[in-house]
C-alpha cells in the first residue's frame, strides 16, 4: 500500500537561504503524525509545498503513490489534500455555515452553478450543517465568523477542511493562539476525526502532540533531525537540545 503522502529530497531555498533541505518524509494511511521543530525550522514552508502554495526548488511529492509535485493547489485539493492555517484564514464577514458550505460546494463541483439560488442547494447546506454539528458549532451556524470567539474560529478552520473530505489533512498549529482552557475542546475534536484520514499536525504545544500523535518528525533548520514514536523522540538528546531546550530555556 502506498504512503498517503511522501516527499523525496524536497528542497526549497530563497536565494542563499535554505528553508527546506532534502526532506524525506512519509505519512502512513490513517496516520496521526506530528511535525515539530523550533521557530523558523521550516514547518509552514513544508506544508505550503505539500499543498502547492509554494513550488519546491527540487525534489518530489507523492500522494498515494501519484506524483503531484507540479500540480496546483486546486488539483491537489481535488485529489484529497486538505489543510488548515496557523493564522485563521476564514471568510470573516460570512456566516459560519457559508464558510463550510463554500468548501462543500467546491468539492461537489457545484460552485460554478449560475442560476439556482445557493440557499436551495439543500444537499450542500445539510452536509455543512452536519459538519458543524459534529464540531459542536451548530448553534453558531448563522453567526458571522468575525463575531465568534477565537477558539471557535479555530474550529471553523477545521470544519472547512473537513468540508473538502480530505484523505490527507494538514493541520497547521490548530490550537495556536487559543487559551489553554479552550484548547481542550480542539483536542477533543481532533481525536474524534475519522480514522481513515491521514493527519499531519504541526504543533508547538508538546502536551497536545503527546496526546494526539503516534509518530513525530522533528524538523530543524529545514532538515529532518529525527523521526520516531513520541517516547523515542522525547528521549532523543538532539531533540532536547534544539527544541525542548529552547522551550525551557
Amino acid at each position: 500500500m502506498p504512503f498517503a503522502l511522501e516527499t523525496r529530497k524536497l528542497c526549497k531555498s530563497f536565494g542563499a537561504l535554505t528553508v527546506a533541505d532534502a526532506i524525506d518524509f512519509r505519512l502512513e494511511p490513517g496516520a496521526r503524525h506530528a511535525l515539530i521543530g523550533p521557530n523558523g525550522a521550516g514547518k509552514t514552508t513544508f506544508v505550503n509545498m505539500l499543498t502547492g502554495r509554494l513550488a519546491p526548488s527540487s525534489g518530489a511529492i507523492f500522494l498515494n503513490g501519484e506524483e503531484i509535485t507540479t500540480l496546483g493547489q486546486a488539483a491537489r485539493v481535488k485529489r484529497g489534500v486538505g489543510r488548515t492555517f496557523q493564522i485563521n484564514t476564514l471568510f470573516r464577514e460570512l456566516p459560519v455555515l457559508d464558510n463550510v458550505a463554500l468548501a462543500v460546494a467546491e468539492r461537489c463541483g457545484l460552485a460554478t452553478r449560475l442560476w439556482r439560488p445557493a440557499g436551495t442547494h439543500k444537499e450542500v447546506i445539510d452536509e455543512a450543517g452536519a459538519l458543524l454539528a459534529q464540531l459542536g458549532l451548530q448553534p453558531d451556524a448563522l453567526r458571522r465568523v468575525a463575531d465568534l470567539p477565537y477558539g471557535k474560529q479555530r474550529l471553523v478552520e477545521i470544519a472547512i477542511a473537513l468540508g473538502m473530505k480530505p484523505r490527507v489533512l494538514l493541520l497547521d498549529e490548530p490550537a495556536a493562539g487559543v487559551p489553554s482552557h479552550e484548547s481542550t475542546r480542539i483536542v477533543e475534536v481532533l481525536q474524534a476525526l475519522p480514522a481513515q484520514i491521514a493527519i499531519l499536525i504541526i504543533e508547538h504545544d508538546m502536551d497536545l502532540v503527546r496526546r494526539f500523535a503516534r509518530r513525530i518528525t522533528v524538523l530543524a533548520a529545514g532538515a529532518v533531525l529525527t523521526e520516531g514514536t513520541p517516547e523515542e523522540v522525547m528521549r532523543d538528546q538532539r531533540v532536547r537540545d534544539v527544541y525542548l531546550g529552547e522551550l525551557h530555556a
Binding site: 460570512l94 439560488p117 458571522r144
Partner: protein, 332 residues
C-alpha cells in the same frame, strides 16, 4: 435588509420592495414625459453600474477601465448602424455584448493575474488604449467628431424610436429588467457565493480547491458583456457615439455612482446613477460652471458619513428602528 449579499443562508425569493424601482420607472414614464431622455440615460447607467457591481461589489475586482467594454459596445452598435447597415436593435446589442465579452476574456486573461494597484493601473491602460484606437480610426469611428447617423430599425419591426424618447425609455427598461434578473440570479447562485468567498479571502478559496483565476475570468467576461450591452443601448438611444464613452472619465464617473449608491448590494447600482445623474442635471442647470463641485461634495459626504453608500445609510437607519434584526445588515 437592503443589501443583497447572496450565500447559502439567505432567502433568494423576490421581496415586495424589489418592485419599487420598476414602479418608479413606470411612474416617471407617465408623469415626467419631458425627462424621458434623461430617464433613458439613467437606465443605461444603471445597467452599466450593475455590470461593475458584479465584479467590484461581489468578486472584489477593482477597476478603472470598465468603460473599455461600455465604449466598445457603444462603437460596435454605432458602426453596425451607421456603416454596416445592420439596423436591428437586438442584433446590435448582441454584437456589442459579444465584442465586449471577447475583449473582456482577452484582457482579463492577462490582467487578472495581478491584483490591487497593478490591476487598477492595467485596467486604466486598457481603456486608454481603446480610446486611442477609437480616436485614430476616424474613418470607422468618426474620431473626435463622433459617429452620427446611427440607424436603428424599429424594435421587433414594430416599435419605432420616437422623437419624445418614449420607445427608447421602455426599450432600455425592458433590457435592464432582463439584465437585472440575470445578475440577481447569479448573485444568489452558488457561483455568486463563491465570488463573495474570493472577495473575502482569496487564499482560503485557493485552499478549498477553487481555481480562483478561472472564476474571476468568467465573471469579468460576464461583466464585460453587460457593460457592452449598456454601451450599445446608449448609442441606440442617442443615435450617436462620441469618444466620451471611453477612457478614464466614464470609468471614474461610474465608480463614483456605484460608491454613492452602495457597493455589493445590487440596488446600489440603481440608486447611484439615479442620484448622480439627477443631481448633475439639476446642478448643471443652476450652476453650469460649478456642477462638478456639487458632485464632489456629495461624494465626500457619502464617503465620510455613509461608507456603505446611500443604501448602507438606509440599512443603518432601518436597523436603528428595528434593533435585533440587524445582525447581518451591519456586516458591510
Amino acid at each position: 435588509m437592503i443589501a443583497h449579499a447572496g450565500g447559502y443562508t439567505v432567502d433568494a425569493r423576490l421581496r415586495w420592495q424589489e418592485a419599487l424601482p420598476w414602479i418608479a420607472a413606470l411612474a416617471a414614464f407617465f408623469l415626467l414625459p419631458e425627462y424621458l431622455a434623461l430617464g433613458a440615460r439613467i437606465l443605461v447607467y444603471i445597467l452599466f453600474a450593475l455590470s461593475l457591481d458584479l465584479i467590484l461589489g461581489y468578486a472584489g475586482i477593482i477597476t478603472l477601465g470598465h468603460s473599455a467594454f461600455f465604449g466598445l459596445g457603444a462603437y460596435v452598435a454605432g458602426i453596425l448602424g451607421a456603416k454596416a447597415g445592420v439596423t436591428d436593435p437586438f442584433l446590435q446589442l448582441a454584437a456589442a455584448g459579444g465584442a465586449a465579452a471577447l475583449l473582456g476574456v482577452a484582457t482579463g486573461a492577462v490582467i487578472l493575474r495581478t491584483r490591487a494597484l497593478t490591476l487598477l493601473m492595467l485596467t486604466l491602460a486598457i481603456t486608454s488604449i481603446v480610446l486611442e484606437i477609437a480616436n485614430s480610426a476616424s474613418s470607422l469611428t468618426g474620431g473626435a467628431d463622433g459617429l452620427s447617423g446611427v440607424v436603428v430599425a424599429p424594435i421587433l419591426g414594430v416599435f419605432k424610436f420616437d422623437l419624445f424618447g418614449r420607445t427608447a425609455f421602455l426599450y432600455c427598461l425592458a433590457v435592464l429588467l432582463v439584465a437585472w434578473y440575470a445578475v440577481r440570479r447569479v448573485i444568489y447562485s452558488p457561483f455568486g457565493a463563491m465570488l463573495t468567498g474570493i472577495r473575502e479571502n482569496a487564499t482560503r478559496m485557493h485552499a478549498i480547491g477553487a481555481p480562483v483565476y478561472g472564476r474571476l475570468l468568467l465573471v469579468y467576461t460576464l461583466s464585460a458583456l453587460l457593460a457592452g450591452i449598456a454601451g450599445a443601448l446608449l448609442t441606440q438611444v442617442n443615435q450617436f457615439v462620441g469618444l466620451n464613452v471611453l477612457g478614464f472619465e466614464p470609468s471614474g464617473e461610474l465608480l463614483v455612482m456605484l460608491v454613492l449608491g452602495g457597493v455589493g448590494r445590487l440596488y446600489g447600482a440603481f440608486i447611484g446613477p439615479v442620484v448622480y445623474l439627477i443631481v448633475q442635471e439639476l446642478l448643471a442647470k443652476e450652476f453650469p460652471e460649478y456642477w462638478f463641485f456639487g458632485i464632489g461634495l456629495l461624494l465626500v459626504a457619502v464617503v465620510l458619513f455613509a461608507p456603505g453608500g446611500i443604501l448602507g445609510l438606509a440599512d443603518k437607519c432601518l436597523s436603528l428602528l428595528r434593533p435585533g434584526s440587524s445582525a447581518r445588515a451591519s456586516a458591510r
